[in-house]
Subunit: 379 residues, 2 copies
């Protein structure tokens, strides 16, 4: 395999074991846990060049590079990271991890509950953005990182970056929160709830303990992903991409039946099937709930300005014009709260027809802005 | 029961039997059919004062008034129709019907297929807006109505009104198409497809012949309706109505579980349950497909201007600012095609935070406009 010269190339994940007790927001406590981690670049002698990449709903630790002997194994934010890319691995030591509750190797519903010797399933405690940040904080300790040069994320990942600046103001120098919001709206929660109900009412869900029944709630997961995709894209992009085109099999004529017919149906079914084949249903539920619960202003009587009072990082906030899930309006709420605290913040509203998923794309202006932000960070 | 003085009061539906052969767009032919119909006001001697009200996805013939001995039986567009209301029954004879394929008494999947003596179920042919307009045309003949004073509808109902002006230009003098679009976008089709897949992959669907199994695909219908509701409302309205409020049962604290917790979840589940208890799953599938297929420009090489070439009606087109399902942009496409044909059209963009469902609400400016349009129609 030949890589572009600015790729990080082949990478290998590692599983880190933590013996610490981790008290969670729910009141439950994890008696030790494991995190799947991947790193790119080298930690410098002063350990000042580390950048933490936080993942969104369906993400994981494999952010950049490729796995040996595995086709199509590119990391989910590969276009961002590498020698010469915006998050330049010649300068930075980049860390990706799979969050607690995930299904890519970190402790989560698929893991064995030491107390019962069976998979946690629905017994896995509900985790929050706060809990993740606390676990990431232990990871920083483990790696000897006193202060992150930056914490970056898009969507739910951006929420973790924001929370870092509130919980551990001394330990993060720059926060990049992209396509995020300071809390979900009723409509946002509504879409998550429909997805959850699709999974939880699937007869194969078995109250979350489908592992014991040797099955998965495939129908529910598939519907959740179809719906998710619809909301991550935009009407315009879907218009450009699919319009009202019929599939090749359908020819030029309406079929007057319920088989797949329009290209957009084909695309959504395909995305749903692909996802349902590998993602864990309990993880999906947990991730949506972490989104719903995220509300850093809540402990401050709902005052977001107050929530950022102790934040010290420099902030880069970005949003995309066609993102209707977390629109620019929502990013501006964050910016206003930061400005009110006289915190150093830059905001970019980036033209894109690709909707919420824009944050994953190498849009030239967006990547130029990120390059600029990262080039100004001293390590 | 005491009615407001501008209510049509108690009403009674009627089932009309048609023995005509009705060839459908799909190539199938119905060998006779029945339509449930309701009327308000009196047909005048010249039979020139009839207004046809076409229903949307989940509507039916009971448009206005109340049923005796039935609680909460108000018609779905009652606020529009009555003596002194915008569609004034002292002047007009108003007709509501349940379309073919419906589940409120007209011939549809729940009806007995004369050929098999069993419910049609999934064997009921796919019906289109064109098919409905053809059936409505036979209804007009039956009632001796040569020309409708107006055909009015919102959403899918508006599409039928538009189709009337194209198929039977001599038989409709005014068309009122509200919150409609000249065809669905890829995103629109996508939402319909998720709803269909929710129903069709419900194990209780049994390929559409759930009647024989004495069950209904309740989970799928419930999900479809939850999703529908989300897209009929707007982010702003849901923010005003629910925000991030927790239910009374939840108190002030997060529950860290998957029971209903936010008010918006409560609302959506309730709407879903209510709908799943009475609506027919096969009808839901048929209605979404009629939406997807609607594209009056299609037989004209995609040229909407051409499609309206023979239209003779006056048009009133209206859209609502917060409607993201069929946004004002989509209504303007209709207006442009009409203007290009030098057809008499007025267009109103109405301020409302209530999303697509606005067309059902008695918004003062909206109702004032409708009053004005109807008052100018000579009968």
């Amino acid at each position: 395999m030949i890589f572009p010269s600015d790729s990080v190339g082949f990478v290998t994940p590692a599983k880190l074991k933590f013996d610490e007790l981790l008290p969670l927001a729910s009141g439950a406590t994890l008696d030790g846990f494991e995190l799947m981690v991947e790193t790119y670049g080298e930690l410098n002698a002063s350990r000042s060049n580390a950048v933490l990449v936080c993942h969104a709903l369906s993400g994981h630790h494999h952010v950049a590079g490729y796995y040996k002997d595995q086709m199509r194994s590119e990391g989910w934010w590969d276009n961002l990271i590498g020698p010469g890319r915006p998050l330049d691995t010649r300068k930075f030591f980049v860390i990706g991890l799979n969050n607690l509750g995930g299904c890519h190797g970190s402790t989560g519903p698929r893991s064995v509950n030491p107390a019962t010797k069976r998979p946690w399933g629905s017994e896995f405690p509900v985790v929050t953005v706060n809990d993740w940040v606390n676990a990431q904080h232990l990871l920083a300790d483990r790696l000897g990182i006193d202060s992150f040069a930056a914490v970056i994320g898009g969507s739910l990942g951006g929420m973790q970056a924001l929370q870092w600046s509130i919980n551990f103001p001394e330990r993060v120098r720059n926060v990049l929160a992209i396509a995020a919001a300071p809390k979900l709206s009723a409509e946002n929660i509504g879409f998550n709830e429909v997805a959850r109900q699709a999974i939880m009412t699937d007869p194969e869900f078995h109250g979350g303990n489908f592992y014991a029944h040797n099955t998965i709630p495939q129908r529910g997961l598939r519907l959740s992903r179809m719906l998710g995709h619809l909301t991550y894209l935009s009407d315009d992009l879907m218009g450009e991409k699919f319009g009202r085109e019929l599939t090749d099999e359908s020819g030029d004529e309406y079929q007057f039946g319920f088989d797949v017919e329009f290209e957009v149906e084909n695309y959504l079914r395909h995305q749903g099937d692909k996802f349902a084949g590998h993602f864990d249903a309990n993880t999906y539920l947990l991730m949506t709930k972490a989104l719903d619960y995220f509300d850093p202003a809540r402990p401050f009587g709902g005052d977001l300005e107050d929530a950022f009072r102790k934040a010290k990082a420099n902030f880069f906030i970005a949003a995309f014009t066609s993102d209707w899930r977390f629109s620019p309006k929502r990013s501006k709420e964050i910016v206003r709260a930061l400005v009110a605290n006289r915190i150093n913040v830059s905001y970019a509203e980036i033209e894109s027809s690709a909707g919420h998923d824009s944050f994953l794309l190498p849009i030239p202006r967006y990547h130029a802005l990120l390059s600029n932000v990262f080039s100004r960070i001293s390590v």
